[in-house]
Each structure stands twice: as structure tokens, then as C-alpha cells.
Symmetry: C2
Subunit: 125 residues, 2 copies
DNA sequence: TTTGCCTCTGACATCCATGTGAGGTTTTAG
DNA sequence: CTAAAACCTCACATGGATGTCAGAGGCAAA
């Protein structure tokens, strides 16, 4: 498929797909005319890239980790594996932090609802 | 305390503290000379602002939600409460997404370790 | 008082993923 | 064949939080 289709199928802009390639996150075969062609496989790959971006990895870090994801067979140096583990731990810590923040928000929402209920009761008197 | 102390106590740069004030997230009393003064209370407040930033809220959204956090008593319009609930849900969805990503990373790490083990066994032969 | 550190405002710089537009070629549909 | 739509590269713009610098004033210890 060409880049436009990949874009619609992944929900990622054409601009971003080109950027991913520029950053070494995504590869394409080129037609004689210069147009990029992709296989279905790339759809998954783009989805995973998006997940990693959402997890707060920079394109640089993603580039470091992705080869490891594609083929566990290659010479994915210890460094890549270690980097992946490290990012995994960072992500885990971040998740914990977010959960605490969510709890805090829940507390605030509850407090406000409670206060609201009080007001209603008072006005009902 | 003055801004420098608040900065060291919260781990947030002086620049950012001024920025928070500019965005209406933080207030200070000013000395006659113009210098900002804060109470211990602001330490907590800055910490909470940081949590919200980390949770992906923009300063605009934080400004919308914070008054609600300070006093559940005020006229924290329905809008603010609704906004808070909405951000809470967004955050929750984001957490779920991150957890899935973490699981994916765990899978990759495991696969690579397994492959490595295979290599070691083979070389051991 | 002088010295050194802190603070003030204002403005410009940075990072990074993405948007946008120009100017040109390729593909596809009518 | 032609027009529309998709694609190419290059390059500049954007946004948001923060860094950084300049020039000026504030404050405390020696």
C-alpha cells in the first residue's frame, strides 16, 4: 500500500509517517518513481510506535528499542535489551504515579459531590 | 519563604514557578520591593500542579480544575467539577493504555531473554 | 559600605512531534 | 488525453513548558 492508505489505516498523518522514516523507526520500499510502499506488517509497527510515543519514549529511544522488537534473533546487543528493561521500569513508575494522581482526583470529585449534596440538603430545609 | 526556597523545596525551577503564576496556577504575596513570598501551603500546591502536569493536563486545564481542589466550598461551578471528572476519565484510559504498553514491553523482554538463553545453550554444546 | 547572592521583568532560545505550504512528479479515473 | 488526487522534497511555522541571558534592584553578612 502507499503512504496515504497506511495513514488512514493507522490514523497517523502522512507527515508523521515520513517523519518516522526519517527517524529510522519505519522503513519502506521505494517504487522507481520514488513513492513509498508498505506491507500490512507496517500497520502493526506504526501502531506500536504510537504506543511507545504515548508511553513517553522519544523517537531516539524508540529507534533504540524497536529493532529488538522486530526480531529477537538479531544482534540486539545487550544495550538494547537493557534499554528496553529500563524504559519498562520507567513506564511502570510513571503508571504508579498516574494512579496516585487519579486517586487524588477521585478524592476531589468525591469531596465536591459531598459538598454539593450538603448544599442541596441545606437549601431543601 | 522567597521563590528560591520554594524552588529548592519543590524541585521546580524558579522559572517554572513564575510561569505557574503567570498561568494563574499559583499565587504569591508581594513584598513592597516586589519580591514574591510564599507560605508552606504553596509547597503542597506546587507538588500537586506537578502531578497534574505529569498526568498530561495543560496549564489551562489545571487552572480550570485547581480552584475546585483548594476549596470544595466555593462556587466551583458545575463546569469545573465536570471538567475534573472528564480529566479523571481521560487519565484512567491513558493508564490502561500504558499498562498494555508495559505488558507489550514485558513480552518483548521475555522473548529476548528466552532467545538469549537459547543461544547460550547452543554455544554450550 | 561593600560584596555576593537573590530577585525582578522582559525577551529570545530550545526541543520535538506535527502542521502547512510551495513547487513539482506520478498515478488514477473519466 | 486530461483533470483530479496522491505523492515527492524542502523548508518554515507552531505550541507548551522550560532554559537562559541582560540589566536593574534588593538584602544580609563581613
Amino acid at each position: 500500500m502507499r503512504i496515504g492508505e497506511l495513514a488512514t489505516r493507522t490514523g497517523v498523518s502522512v507527515r508523521s509517517l515520513r517523519y518516522y522514516e526519517e527517524q529510522g523507526l519505519l522503513s519502506s520500499t521505494r517504487a522507481a518513481s520514488g513513492q513509498r510502499h508498505y506491507t500490512d506488517h507496517e500497520v502493526e509497527r506504526v501502531a506500536f510506535i504510537q504506543r511507545l510515543y504515548a508511553a513517553g519514549l522519544s523517537s531516539r529511544t524508540i529507534a533504540e528499542v524497536l529493532p529488538c522488537a522486530e526480531s529477537p534473533s538479531e544482534e540486539n546487543s545487550d544495550a538494547a535489551l537493557e534499554r528496553m528493561t529500563q524504559e519498562r521500569d520507567r513506564l511502570s513508575a510513571h503508571i504508579d504515579d498516574l494512579v496516585r494522581t487519579r486517586d487524588a482526583l477521585d478524592g476531589l470529585v468525591a469531596a465536591n459531590r459531598a459538598h454539593r449534596a450538603t448544599l442541596v440538603a441545606a437549601s431543601g430545609q
